[in-house]
């Protein structure tokens, strides 16, 4: 069973002057259990539309999808997922603690477990000192962390996060990345959208690039980075003791090494020079 399985899902909206806007066009995507998947795309690409369809906030015009085997839009599917909306907003008259207790109640968590998990989450996300204060006094980053706390609270098997790092300072971003890495270690599935390629490169197993409602690329991060190798930077020390650094293309590497050995040079270091995820993303989107 896939953690997330999307089959030919599409969504169209009526735009200005009754013009039909295809926000999502026949998306096919499956996320394995235990996989961290990065959904990459520029602003307005269809990332949030996909996520809103998955969470039952909007209904897809066509196609189907399941979350842990349950059809999207059902209460059962939402029971099995932790969802963080983009720029989350929570009842600002409640404190973070009250909100987490409210969320836990909806997830039907036992009182003892809820109290323990609430404390753990508030401490993990550095909200413990502010737990009693109404959220109307929180900064954007703090609200985002409350969002993450409510996502992690009931320890689901699948996490759907819409731009989880937006609004966070570098420390907050590092915290979120560590949380995602930790979830991966614990065999949880994570589907998160972002337009920041660095986030994807560091934490994801696979990546999908979406633009104008169409999935343009779907590949593993390792494969993309491997494919992106343009050549190698080789550091050698000659017989005379001189240190040299050369750039060698992929095809010339073998010959270069053989020549260096035959000339009794010492090969100090071979380092691949590659296009990063950002270059890959820009190349796909520009097509």
């Amino acid at each position: 069973m896939f953690a997330l399985d999307i089959q030919g899902m599409g969504k169209s909206f009526k735009g200005k002057k009754r013009q039909v806007v295809e926000a999502l066009q026949g998306l096919n995507l499956s996320i394995e259990q235990g996989e961290v998947f990065g959904f990459l795309g520029p602003n307005g690409a269809g990332k949030s539309t996909t996520i809103k369809c998955l969470m039952g906030l909007i209904k897809p015009t066509y196609g189907t999808a399941t979350i842990m085997g349950e059809p999207i839009g059902s209460v059962a599917s939402r029971m099995k997922v932790g969802f963080l909306p983009e720029n989350p907003a929570f009842y600002d008259y409640l404190s973070a603690e009250e909100y987490l207790l409210f969320v836990g109640g909806i997830f039907k968590m036992s009182t003892a477990l809820l109290a323990r998990r609430t404390e753990e989450m508030l401490k993990l996300l550095e909200l413990w000192d502010a737990r009693k204060r109404p959220m109307r006094g929180y900064s954007k980053g703090m609200v985002q962390r409350v969002g993450l706390a409510q996502v992690l609270l009931h320890d689901p098997d699948l996490y759907i996060l819409d731009e989880p790092m937006s609004g966070l300072d570098p420390l907050g971003r590092a915290l979120v990345k560590n949380i995602i890495i930790d979830l991966k270690k614990r065999g949880k599935s994570v589907f998160f959208s972002t337009h920041i390629t660095d986030d994807v490169e560091k934490v994801c197993d696979r990546v999908g690039v979406i633009n104008k409602g169409q999935l343009l690329a779907l590949d593993s991060v390792d494969h993309i980075l491997q494919q992106g190798i343009e050549g190698y930077v080789v550091n050698i020390t000659t017989v005379a003791g001189l240190r040299e650094e050369s750039f060698v293309t992929k095809s010339d590497l073998q010959i270069f090494i053989q020549r260096a050995i035959s000339n009794q040079c010492l090969i100090e270091k071979i380092q691949p020079r590659r296009k990063d995820m950002e270059a890959f993303f820009l190349e796909i989107v520009a097509r």
């Binding site: 909007i58 209904k59 939402r78 969802f83 600002d92």
Partner: protein, 264 residues
């Protein structure tokens, strides 16, 4: 749904609109002195003023809290976080309704108690011609409560179809104003006198509006409470049945519309 009811109540009690409206309850303190300005029927006047003040506060609360509750959630994007939790949209909406209804009941109890205290003081100082029948007074407050709960239902229904603040607020106020006269207009249009003056198109329109708009005339038991007149029991039963049926239709419509609404 219980969690939503709790959240609704917390939200109202911490809302400045509620706190502002409840300041009006201070006016209860002035009722004995205002009633004593009358040369006679001081107790009757204190009952009238008390019931009117309760009614006015409940009207403001039901219109503003009922009409803004759902709208505020959508406007401030709270619904994204809540509707994506494992709770059905109907449970969310009904939770909101029952939360607001419970709040209206609690407010009526508090205001009713304050009103009864004021009337007791007035009747002690200026004994009335007819003894105050407390049961009728409680009935009048109870039916006023039902009336405003029904109005909350109207406000919620209008909130589900609208993206702006204006339709729920002004729609509810219009529905409230119309609800007081629908019965009289309907009876006039169907009377023999109206046959010659009312156009054939007007009569079915009035009939349609009569059934469509809430008829709140039956909920007004103020006269019974003021003059200690026993209310018609079958009429009361019919009003309760009307309240249940009309509220059920309103909330049924609201949940249907809200269930299909897209949270863009």
């Amino acid at each position: 749904m219980f969690a939503i009811i709790q959240i609704t109540l917390k939200g109202i009690f911490r809302d400045r609109v509620f706190q502002g409206i409840m300041v009006l309850a201070v006016l209860f303190l002035f009722i004995p002195s205002a009633a004593s300005l009358s040369m006679r029927q001081v107790t009757e006047l204190s009952i009238t003023l008390s019931l009117s003040l309760i009614s006015f506060i409940l009207l403001l609360l039901s219109v503003f809290l009922g009409a803004t509750s759902l709208w505020k959630d959508m406007e401030r994007r709270y619904t994204f976080s809540v509707v994506s939790l494992p709770i059905s949209r109907s449970s969310y909406l009904l939770g909101r309704f029952f939360g607001l209804a419970l709040f209206i009941v609690l407010t009526s109890v508090i205001l009713g108690a304050a009103g009864c205290l004021v009337i007791k003081i007035c009747s002690g100082i200026y004994p009335p011609d007819r003894p105050v029948v407390w049961g009728y007074l409680v009935l009048a407050i109870g039916f006023a409560t039902l009336k405003y709960i029904l109005l909350v239902g109207v406000a919620l229904l209008l909130s589900t179809v609208s993206t702006s603040f204006f339709l729920p607020v002004f729609g509810t106020i219009c529905a409230f104003l119309a609800s007081g006269v629908t019965q009289q207009v309907y009876e006039y249009v169907n009377s023999p006198i109206a046959l010659q003056v009312v156009s054939p198109f007007f009569k079915p329109t009035v009939t349609l509006l009569y059934y469509l708009l809430p008829n709140l005339a039956g909920f007004d038991l103020n006269v019974n409470a003021i003059y200690s007149i026993a209310p018609d029991q079958s009429g009361l039963l019919l009003t309760v049945v009307y309240f249940v049926a009309y509220t059920a239709i309103l909330m049924g419509g609201a949940t249907l519309i809200f269930g299909h609404r897209e949270m863009k």
